[in-house]
């Protein structure tokens, strides 16, 4: 039998030694609860399983030339990333409860936490959360705990998928969730101001936002802090090679989706939620945290720490129910950023922005195509306003092997002609030119 070591003879010998039969070992299950044979096909050989799944993989269209982003990006993954992350001492281990035998993953998580802090200009980070959306929800819950206030204001340029998630999570908890309409692609300060008062726990914004527009939030952090509220910023880590950091804009909690840091798109997961904050809030932060300490001989070592916040100690009084982090995805992000290094990340971010800028200028030459938010700066994603419905164009371009972008109307009623286009370093100038050409003839 696959993956079962003991031979039938050994199983017999073991049963004899303990003086039991197999049926006796299951005698605690009442007879009326014992189930008949499952309606599941007989097992397959490895070769059969791999052939079957290879043919299922072939039924997916994974070779499109993609301009699809929306918070999830097709970045190049250097070979050394999977080579290191697939070392099985890492991936077949569990949460490092026994630090002496888990220094590898513990030190890696400490380095990951440090890297997230350096990237975002924050002071402490946790060992990761499930994804960018649950990280934003956890940030909101954390702000509610810190301030003891009931209201959270979320701008509608924050990912609509994340806003859907937040609605679900907050619906039954007596939390006042306010979603404010944006104006010309950016959070509308007047709208936000209306909801900022001594009931407000936090304002949540995103940079670059779902429309790809860049913003500066220092005024917002002042506004929030003046009434005792926190500023939560969700961000796209690759952009931080170039773009102003949330920390330097006065953010109190920074979260985001780390998929772009060497993690495959993989049809939606596993991904990586990161979270960083200021030192004063660390005891209100959810999730695992690794700290550096020493052993009896004064040697440096790493442990899970501040565990009195957590479910296995605090049970129903814990800061969160979260148990695992996304350890392997955090390791992936750390390896990826270490390979790129200080200069590499800057160059990569610039290349993305340059190619996106080129694409934007090239696409604007198409008659009838304009920018939806012409006054805004963007990093590597922008909204094109087409002369016809975006859905129609996307459909047509799929036939030419292009994923042209995302139709904003799916989440923003009234934006039928708006197409969200993302450009990463993987797209070549030639592909961009061809994309522009195919789009032009399709209009």
């Amino acid at each position: 039998m696959p993956y079962i070591a003991n031979t039938p003879e050994q199983q017999e010998a073991m049963l004899r030694q303990i003086g039991r039969s197999l049926e006796e070992l299951f005698s605690d299950v009442p007879p009326d609860l014992r189930c008949p044979a499952l309606n599941i096909p007989p097992g397959l050989t490895e070769q059969e399983v791999r052939n079957r799944l290879a043919s299922m993989a072939a039924r997916n269209k994974a070779d499109l030339i993609s301009f699809l982003g929306g918070g999830f990006y097709d970045h190049f993954i250097p070979a050394a990333v999977p080579a290191l992350v697939s070392r099985s001492e890492f991936y077949t281990a569990y949460t490092p409860y026994q630090p002496e035998t888990s220094q590898g993953i513990l030190q890696a998580i400490y380095e990951y936490q440090s890297t997230i802090c350096r990237l975002t200009d924050m002071e402490v980070a946790n060992a990761s959360l499930y994804d960018g959306g649950t990280a934003l929800y956890e940030a909101i819950m954390m702000a509610l705990r810190i301030t003891g206030r009931p209201r959270v204001v979320v701008d509608d340029t924050v990912s609509p998928i994340y806003r859907e998630m937040i609605r679900t999570y907050t619906s039954n908890l007596g939390i006042e969730l306010v979603e404010t309409p944006s104006r010309n692609g950016l959070p509308d300060r007047e709208e936000l101001r209306k909801h900022l008062n001594d009931r407000t726990a936090a304002v949540a914004v995103q940079n670059p936002n779902f429309f790809g527009c860049l913003d500066e939030f220092s005024d917002l952090s002042d506004l929030a802090h003046r009434c005792g509220a926190l500023l939560i910023v969700s961000c796209y880590p690759i952009s931080l090679g170039l773009v102003k950091t949330p920390g330097s804009m006065g953010a109190d909690i920074v979260v985001g989706e780390g998929q772009s840091l060497g993690i495959p798109l993989g049809f939606g997961g596993p991904y990586l939620g990161f979270m960083a904050t200021r030192r004063e809030y660390v005891r209100k932060m959810p999730g695992r945290i690794v700290g550096r300490t020493v052993d009896g001989k004064g040697q440096q070592g790493f442990v899970l720490t501040l565990q009195t916040r957590e479910q296995h100690i605090r049970r129903q009084k814990a800061t969160s129910n979260i148990c695992t982090n996304e350890g392997l995805c955090a390791l992936t992000a750390l390896v990826y950023l270490s390979l790129l290094g200080k200069q590499g990340l800057v160059e990569l971010a610039k290349t993305c922005a340059e190619k996106a800028s080129y694409a934007g200028q090239r696409l604007l030459k198409i008659p009838g195509v304009r920018m939806r938010f012409p006054k805004r700066y963007y990093f590597n994603e922008f909204v094109l306003e087409l002369p016809v419905a975006a859905d129609r164009i996307i459909h047509r371009l799929l036939e030419e092997r292009f994923a042209a972008g995302f139709p904003l109307v799916r989440y923003y009623p009234g934006m039928e002609k708006s197409l969200l286009v993302a450009v990463t370093e993987k797209r070549t100038k030639e592909e961009i030119n061809l994309f522009a050409h195919v789009l032009e003839v399709s209009l």
Partner: protein
């Protein structure tokens, strides 16, 4: 060992990013730009490879040796699944593709995996439908608790409380609390099962449901489970099954048949996907017929022409709990595992997991106190209270096992057993491995009697000794900042 930032050499380069191909510089307003680069390390590719290879050598996984960490089901993770997860047809698939017009036809293979996994889990657990979206076991619990709330809200029930036994995993009460419920703890009886009389006394119209693991964290199957389900259903409460301990029941007994209304399954435990040093996992949630309408958005459906689609139009649903369809590549690995084992293999998993646990339990019974049970399921829980009288605590025994090449069991859990040592061998371990572990445990028990200091000074073979956790918590050093 130095942290990676201490190895940095100014100007040294690792991998080179893609060329910018002469594209014009981006026009971004200067006030939107960062004023200095992030202080990432500056290293060659080889520096990075050596650093992480060295770190991997300081880590212990299932591939390194026996890992009987109770309640975590640290079974072997088949290599085949890693290869399958890396197939480009899966790994490079953008999750927004099916949201494009006509996009579902671009991902039929992936949707088929999700659909077939749903069907397999229904059959294994005896439930009506599954959502594969929950991203971890605790995330599944929260999803389940929100489904409980949705059910009662729609029925107009005023329910405030979820009942949880004292032996439960910490995530259970935390998840219930985060979903907005009060938690009432039900004590265990002298046999280690839930005290049915205490349950009866706790039941009232305020009870929204009961969260239970069966077999429980002592490794004991609760023979009163149908009675418990009936009692909870009697006050229109829902039965929630924490699937952490499903492994010994595969193909032998199903949560649905025990009367559970909601079930979460840990794919990273029962279905052999890697634990990843603490994630990613996956915690699909299955429900009975009357709760299907509350499952999160979206669900995979099968059209009349045999093609698959994503159903977003589900008005009673609790809504989005994850951005997409779950931790897809984890689900994929688990699906490959189920295909490989088939119906017979799954049943053999349950039998051998149970046999291995009972074999360890019987062989250690003379040497350590066993507070509960004559037979166990997937794990057994000993107490080191006898050894503790000699100054050797469960933690010391754990450290002594590390020196002998084994990962320790879970210690100090469940909370109902003093000096607990929770041993879950899993079915993938051989008799030879179990015998070596048993021998080490016996040797440690003897040393605890004769030379306790030989145990309390362990570990001595590791890269660091016991670490100062008090200092870590009191003077937190949580990041190397520049």
């Amino acid at each position: 060992m130095k942290v990676i930032f201490e190895k940095s050499v100014p100007g040294r380069r690792g991998v080179r990013p893609a060329r910018q191909e002469g594209c014009p510089p981006p026009q971004i307003g200067p006030r939107l730009l960062r004023d200095r680069p992030a202080e990432l390390p500056e290293l060659s590719e080889l520096d990075v490879v050596r650093h992480f290879t060295e770190l991997s050598r300081r880590n212990f996984g299932v591939d390194s040796g026996f890992y009987p960490l109770g309640s975590c089901t640290m079974k072997y993770n088949p290599k085949m699944a890693e290869q399958i997860a890396a197939y480009a047809g899966f790994s490079s698939l953008h999750p927004l593709l099916p949201q494009l017009p006509g996009g579902e036809m671009l991902v039929q293979g992936a949707l088929a995996v999700l659909h077939e996994m749903d069907l397999a889990l229904r059959e294994i657990c005896g439930m009506a439908a599954f959502t594969l979206q929950p991203l971890a076991g605790a995330h599944g619990e929260l999803t389940g608790a929100m489904i409980i709330a949705a059910y009662h809200n729609h029925r107009g029930n005023r329910k405030t409380t979820i009942l949880i036994p004292d032996s439960a995993h910490g995530t259970n009460p935390a998840s219930a609390a985060i979903a907005g419920y009060q938690v009432q703890v039900i004590p265990s009886d002298a046999d280690g099962h839930m005290d049915v009389e205490a349950l009866r006394a706790a039941l009232s119209d305020h009870v929204a449901g009961l969260m239970l693991t069966n077999p429980n964290t002592l490794g004991l199957f609760d023979p009163h489970i149908r009675q418990i389900s009936d009692l909870v259903h009697g006050v229109d409460g829902l039965m929630y099954y924490d699937g952490a301990n499903l492994n010994p029941l595969l193909g032998r007994c199903r949560p649905g048949d025990m009367g559970f209304d909601i079930v979460h399954v840990n794919l990273h435990k029962t279905f052999a996907t890697p634990h990843g040093g603490g994630g990613p996992g996956a915690g699909p949630v299955g429900v009975c017929e009357k709760l299907v309408k509350y499952l999160p958005i979206s669900l995979v459906g099968e059209g009349q022409d045999g093609s698959y689609f994503l159903d977003y139009g589900r008005p009673k649903s609790i809504g989005y709990i994850a951005p997409f369809y779950g931790n897809f590549s984890v689900i994929l690995r688990a699906y490959a595992y189920i295909l490989t084992l088939g119906r017979e293999g799954l049943r053999r998993v349950a039998e051998n997991a149970t046999l291995n646990a009972n074999y360890v339990m019987e062989n250690l019974r003379p040497y350590y106190d066993l507070p509960y049970g004559s037979i166990c399921k997937h794990e057994c829980v000993f107490s080191a209270r006898r050894q503790a009288k000699r100054g050797v605590r469960a933690l010391d025994i754990a450290k002594a096992l590390i020196d002998r090449g084994f990962h320790p069991p879970t210690v100090y859990f469940p909370l109902t057993v003093p000096e607990a040592m929770m041993i879950e061998p899993t079915e993938t371990e051989s008799k030879e491995t179990l015998d070596a572990f048993i021998e080490a445990m016996i040797e440690i028990a003897r040393l605890a009697e004769t030379r306790p200091e030989d145990i309390t000074r362990c570990p001595t073979t590791t890269v660091v000794g016991r670490l100062d956790e008090t200092r870590a918590a009191r003077q937190p050093d949580l990041a190397s900042l520049k």
